[in-house]
């Protein structure tokens, strides 16, 4: 499915930061969403299944935070998931991308 858009979102196109040593615990997670975005629901569903807490920023309810989402992701799309680790490093995951999301929140 190399010709379609969603595939790139799933696979992600931001490089994952290299981690030295063991995994660093997650401090908090923020997801930028909209009401109509099915992939936003999937990210929330996945975190819900795993029992992981997150903060949701719904851009339909808070359009004033769109610029923040765009600055963080460099894109005009949702979902954008920001995983902040205990050492304050951040991993930004664009789209519903289990290959990136699962290890980032593990």
């Amino acid at each position: 499915m190399t010709v379609v858009a969603f595939d790139r979102l799933r696979q992600g196109f931001l490089k994952r930061p290299k981690v030295q040593g063991g995994p660093i615990m997650v401090k908090n997670i923020t997801i930028f969403t909209t009401n109509t975005c099915a992939y936003c629901h999937m990210v929330k569903k996945y975190l819900g299944i795993k029992g992981i807490n997150y903060e949701e920023v719904n851009l339909d309810e808070h359009p004033n935070r769109q610029a923040e989402a765009m600055e963080i992701s460099g894109t005009m799309t949702v979902p954008v998931t920001v995983v902040t680790k205990q050492d304050e490093t951040k991993e930004v995951i664009i789209g519903y991308n289990l290959a990136r999301l699962a290890p980032a929140v593990a």
Binding site: M1, T2, V3, V4, A5, F6, D7, R8, L9, R10, T34, T36, C37, A38, Y39, C40, H41, M42, K45, Y46, I49, L59, D60, P63, Q66, M70, G74, T75, M76, T77, V78, I94, Y96, L98, A99
Partner: protein, 320 residues
């Protein structure tokens, strides 16, 4: 057989894809008490889930939001025992009674497989499309439309999806140029609805207009260059949404003996059986599919009943 091999999970049926076709099949297989596992790598509900509103699915006189239909189908399948695994099937192979699936959750075995992976939107293949992907070029209005409040957009396409999503995007955009390569192929009802937005100046339709180039800079898309009757014309827009048809999600089947057509759609017989025994296909991924949600659901039901016949060892021969 090694210890490791004996630990490979075995299932009666694995359905790959959880769009309307796959979920309907799961409703039927689980109600027949056939143990069923589903795999979904994207959104449960498939393209239906990312469609704003669906007006042609029976039983919903006022239409239904795609996300709601997808969620209700999921609940119905899960109510009867279907299990949806969030992950991807990367390869399948025939081992006789069982088929082996390589997945992101490890290897699995299934007596029957249903390929219901659907299709995704095609790209138009013009300069700038890749460069500005998700930064001004989009394929999902319900995901990304909210970024274009009071901004100018172009929508490329003239089929049902293009018109439906253009209408959805009018709730955000100040104006939309609809760029149609030939003529509008959408249903009459959608065309009538679109006409209201044309009359009030929200949408301008440009027929026989091919998109040539998407132009922008580091801040995003600035314009679209088109061609009509040999003449170039530039539209100043902040973003472009593309809905120009569908391509099947069958990359993972290409190394297998399963027959695909020249585009990549799965070829089946009248029982929805592929060229690999025990592997069936239904919905938008199937050669000959009508790309309608109602058809996909119908094929899902048919596939489930044919799988039951296959598992019981008395599949009816094809009547020519």
């Amino acid at each position: 057989m090694s210890d490791k091999e004996t630990q490979v999970p075995k299932h009666d049926v694995i359905i790959i894809g959880s769009g309307p076709a796959g979920l309907t099949a799961a409703i039927y297989t689980t109600r027949e008490d056939i143990e069923t596992l589903m795999f979904e790598r994207g959104a449960v509900g498939g393209l239906a889930a990312v469609t704003d509103k669906i007006d042609n699915y029976p039983g919903f006189p006022e239409g239904v939001e795609g996300l709601k239909l997808a969620d209700d189908l999921r609940k119905q399948a899960e109510r009867f025992g279907a299990v949806i695994e969030l992950g991807e099937v990367t390869a399948i192979s025939d081992e006789g009674e069982y088929k082996r699936l390589e997945t992101t959750s490890g290897d699995m075995l299934a007596k029957a497989i249903l390929v219901a992976t659907g299709s995704d939107y095609k790209k138009i293949g013009v300069p700038g499309e890749q460069e500005f992907y998700a930064r001004g070029v989009h394929y999902c209005a319900t995901c990304d439309g909210a970024f274009y409040r009071d901004k100018k957009l172009a929508v490329v396409g003239g089929g049902n999806s293009a018109i439906q999503e253009t209408i959805f995007l009018t709730r955000f955009a100040s104006h939309i140029d609809l760029l149609v390569r030939s003529t509008i192929k959408a249903s009459d009802v959608l065309q009538q609805e679109l006409e209201e937005y044309v009359k009030n100046g929200k949408v301008t339709v440009h027929l026989a207009t091919s998109t040539q180039n998407i132009v922008g800079d580091t801040s995003g898309v600035k314009s679209v260059t088109t061609q009509k009757d040999g003449k170039n014309k530039e539209f100043e827009v902040d973003g472009v949404f593309v809905f120009v048809g569908l391509l099947p999600n069958t990359q993972f089947l290409k190394p297998t003996p399963i027959r695909l057509d020249e585009i990549g759609f799965v070829i089946t017989d009248q029982n929805l059986h592929t060229s690999m025994p025990g592997v069936f296909a239904c919905g938008d991924v199937r050669c000959g599919a009508t790309m309608q949600i109602a058809s996909a659901a119908g094929e899902g039901a048919t596939a489930a009943l044919k799988i039951r016949e296959y598992l019981e060892g008395h599949m009816h021969p094809i009547q020519n």
